[in-house]
Subunit: 225 residues, 2 copies
Amino acid sequence: MLPYTPEQGTLADIASHRLAQSIVTGELVQGQKLNEAELAERFGMGRGPLREALRHLEGMRLVTRVPNAGARVVVLDRKTLSDLYAVREALEGMACRIAAVQMTDADIDQLRKLLDRHEAQIKKEGGKVYAQNEGDLDFHYQIARGSRNQMLMDMLGSEQYQLLRMCRYRTSRNAERTRPALQQHRQIVEALAQRDGELAEMLMRRHIQGAWLSISEMIDKEEAA
Amino acid sequence: MLPYTPEQGTLADIASHRLAQSIVTGELVQGQKLNEAELAERFGMGRGPLREALRHLEGMRLVTRVPNAGARVVVLDRKTLSDLYAVREALEGMACRIAAVQMTDADIDQLRKLLDRHEAQIKKEGGKVYAQNEGDLDFHYQIARGSRNQMLMDMLGSEQYQLLRMCRYRTSRNAERTRPALQQHRQIVEALAQRDGELAEMLMRRHIQGAWLSISEMIDKEEAA
DNA sequence: ATTTTACTAATTGTCGACAATCTAGGTTAT
DNA sequence: ATAACCTAGATTGTCGACAATTAGTAAAAT
């Protein structure tokens, strides 16, 4: 429960932000019913702005709405995540191919420094690095920025599909994949530095496929338990 | 101005639908200010549901909102469309590759019949075939369905990015591209029938690149005028 | 003549109350 | 005992009114 409200706009924007955060972090359980009156009370606002926020979250696919039956937190089942990772592979693969042409040398240097920070964080804390999944610190988002494609940046970044953040948040606990992931990130950056878009795309696709494999196994274990 | 309201849900859903339609068809001009009170009056509802609809459209990228300054219809400039078509190429290329494996023979037959209908329509009307861009009739949407990827279907179909419909609606007047497009559609279907995902993806990517080239030229002409 | 500033009108943001709809529990009939 | 039905409670959907902010205009000062 963050005490401060990160957004400065209208109440609906604030509610949207706080709700998204609560859903992504799992504070609001998957499939849970979202009671308008209760949430409005908790956020200290009327139901109007809150309903606008729910409509916004519906567009982000973080909640599902049924007319006259209210809104529920989305449930990330196996099929949904599988679909999500397939889409990611296509989008981020493309981002890499274009970024290899569009990024400046300075941009690529920035990426290297970002990975240095990640490495330091891993050595220090041993694995639980969710902080690197946020905003400008995110490696994948920086590559989307490198593609100079605003639509892609929106899709992978701030607004659209926070589903990914939600998924990564749930799976950031298993530390055994952070090191190989970092290694793959480094390979991608080197491909970008050599301006080899084809290679960068292939490396990114494999990286995402590997992430999906890891998550898939984790789901299997959970279902077995 | 359609006299009937196509949706049956809440007033916000109806408003969302009607607004989207008006924006896509160009009845509401790009960049136009959207006055809440005026629209609510026109739709015969209060401002509450209308605000919810605007929040929804904001998520669809059909309107841009600035706090305390209202909502405006999005403007499709050259860069935005370029970005959109790059994303399309990646997503629909993937859809083809997966659909080549996932579609049933019956699905592919359906696609063939759909193209037969399109051909008949072209011969009869000579080109202005916007009806085929709607819903289940849409060739591209049917392929997204064939991928069995729900996220992709959402993105390319009903909800997300109606920007594409908006763009296609504007450019559906130029009839000279409908025949080569149909030819390319047929090639794609044959690739799917042979279960050649690689080929189907490549053909779809070229098809979309061709469409972008055509649209790009059209924009050049408009800017020259 | 131009810039600044106060004022007014219009528009957005918000709230509380009421109507419509759904849900759950108990009651009655078979 | 089971199933259909009805009623009471809770929840969503909607509206109208009020507050807050912005934009435009006209007057005043430099």
